[in-house]
């Protein structure tokens, strides 16, 4: 049929050429994405060295020449990895509980209008609450240190996660809802196949923010709550400071920073993959 031929032709014209997977192009892309980061690290080291050379507060502020070898020593020593293990395990447990609590609350609040009227602003309020403020209360409530930390992590992370989900549900495009209802999606199926997938980008944003809160709460907790058992990163940092080992303390701070950056990168990657699949990303943007 002539119309079919014309239609196929038009389709092909409108789709344009396929994307090339040229290795040289990919390498250029990787370089374009990484050089600003390398430059930033170099700049930080340079400024750090300059501050060190001026001799300002030299007792506390050690230069990169002292700290980096110290960090290297730690990396080769088992104690740091054990501490990272202890801390990450706590982080994972606290975050997972916060994820479950936050998601459940978010879904209920989004679904049930009276609950939203009651809890909506409380959730936002909790989000602005500095987590350290919970600790005196948490330590008395849970005599055991570990439980106190998990409690504060939940108080910090769950509101962000709940809010992300609520925002996602609220911003489900009405046109898609109409389309879904026309198809016969109702009740639970409407949520499963339409509302929840549509909410995913906002939910991931909430998860990312929730992680930041959980991580901060955890670090604060390890600094102020005394826990029986093997030391985590916060405890290590605290004891280094008490021993006036400021090179060691700076090294731990760098480790904490790196973990934060790596986890953030994972969330950013997930978010970008999600948006790319939905066509919400400018294809010319790098990364």
């Amino acid at each position: 049929m002539a119309t079919d031929q014309a239609l196929y032709g038009l389709d092909n014209l409108e789709l344009g050429p396929a994307h090339d997977r040229d290795p040289a192009r990919l390498a250029r892309k990787a370089w374009a994405a990484s050089w600003p980061k390398l430059l930033a690290i170099a700049l930080v080291l340079l400024i750090w060295q300059i501050v060190h050379v001026t001799g300002w507060k030299h007792f506390v502020l050690k230069g990169p020449g002292t700290v980096l070898p110290d960090l290297w020593q730690m990396v080769r020593h088992e104690q740091l990895w054990a501490a990272i293990g202890v801390t990450m395990q706590r982080a994972l447990i606290g975050y997972l509980v916060a994820l479950l609590v936050g998601s459940a609350i978010g879904l209920l609040v989004a679904r049930i209008p009276p609950l939203r009227a009651a809890l909506g602003s409380i959730i936002t309020g909790l989000q602005t609450m500095p987590s350290i403020a919970w600790y005196p209360f948490a330590i008395i409530l849970f005599t055991q240190g570990e439980a106190a930390i998990v409690f504060v992590m939940i108080m910090g992370a769950a509101p962000s996660i709940a809010n992300g989900l609520i925002t996602g549900v609220d911003y489900t495009p009405p046109l898609l809802l109409r389309a879904g209802r026309t198809m016969g999606l109702r009740g639970l199926n409407l949520y499963r196949y339409l509302v929840l997938p549509a909410s995913l980008p906002a939910y991931v944003a909430g998860l990312k923010q929730g992680w930041a809160f959980a991580w901060r709460s955890l670090m604060a907790g390890e600094l102020v709550v005394s826990i029986v058992g093997p030391p985590g990163l916060g405890v290590l940092l605290n004891s280094n400071q008490n021993d006036l080992d400021f090179a060691g303390a700076t090294s731990i701070i760098i480790v904490i920073l790196i973990i934060g950056i790596v986890v953030d990168m994972l969330f950013t990657k997930a978010d970008r993959a999600l948006r790319r699949r939905r066509g919400l990303l400018d294809p010319s943007a790098t990364g």
Binding site: L10, E14, L15, A179, M183, Y193, L200, R277
Partner: protein, 267 residues
Amino acid sequence: MTLRANELTPPAVTPPGASAAPAVRLTEVSKAYRTSGGELLALDRVSLTVRDGEFACIIGASGCGKSTLLNLVAGLDKPTSGQVDTGERRVGLMFQEPALFPWLTAGRNVELALRARGVPKAERREKVAELLEVVRLTGFADKRPHELSGGMRQRVALARALAQDADVLLMDEPFGALDAMTRDMLHDEIERICADRTLTVLFVTHNVREAARLGDRVVVLSSRPGRVIAEYPVPRLGPRRIDSPEVAKLAAELTDRLREEMGRHGN
């Protein structure tokens, strides 16, 4: 105002190939909305019968309640008074925007409509392939909506509407956002698909040529409130094109009728 409402409309001619049984019957349907400025009457005692297998086009200027009408027939909304009767027929709805789910591929979008009406998994795959073939999109099942052109997305939306196994297809300006060339080709496609499946179509448009090109009958609605003010049966003598003389003639007639109606709101 009341003069127009009393105008007699010619009895519609049964188009060849269509049975005389009504697929959609609206009886004295009115729909009012409460707004901040008081009550807004969107539809005023609209009576309309669409026969099985008929392609009925509805045109009207802004504010004629076209979308309201389709929502009522689709069962997404209830009339304030009057009756909407579609019997036991399944009603599918297509919008001006494709309204595809952006996280699903073209194939999965169509499949979800099958799943929603309980088609078992084993049959879905084959059905999806068949429906994509109907809209000439074989080979694009794995593309996501944003990777397709506007016309292709609208065809996926059509496949999804067909997947609902509808007897009555309601189309709300489905080609309004497409360029003229693509629209022209989709007219041929929709005509072929509807004839193959003996679908009853209620097609809302702003475009008089499109209405004259596609309809077995063109229904003109007045604006604010929406009333049926004229009906034009279009005898199907042979294949029609958007640039056929008889299409142009009817389009001119419809344009005059609509301008007259718009002029009524001019002062």
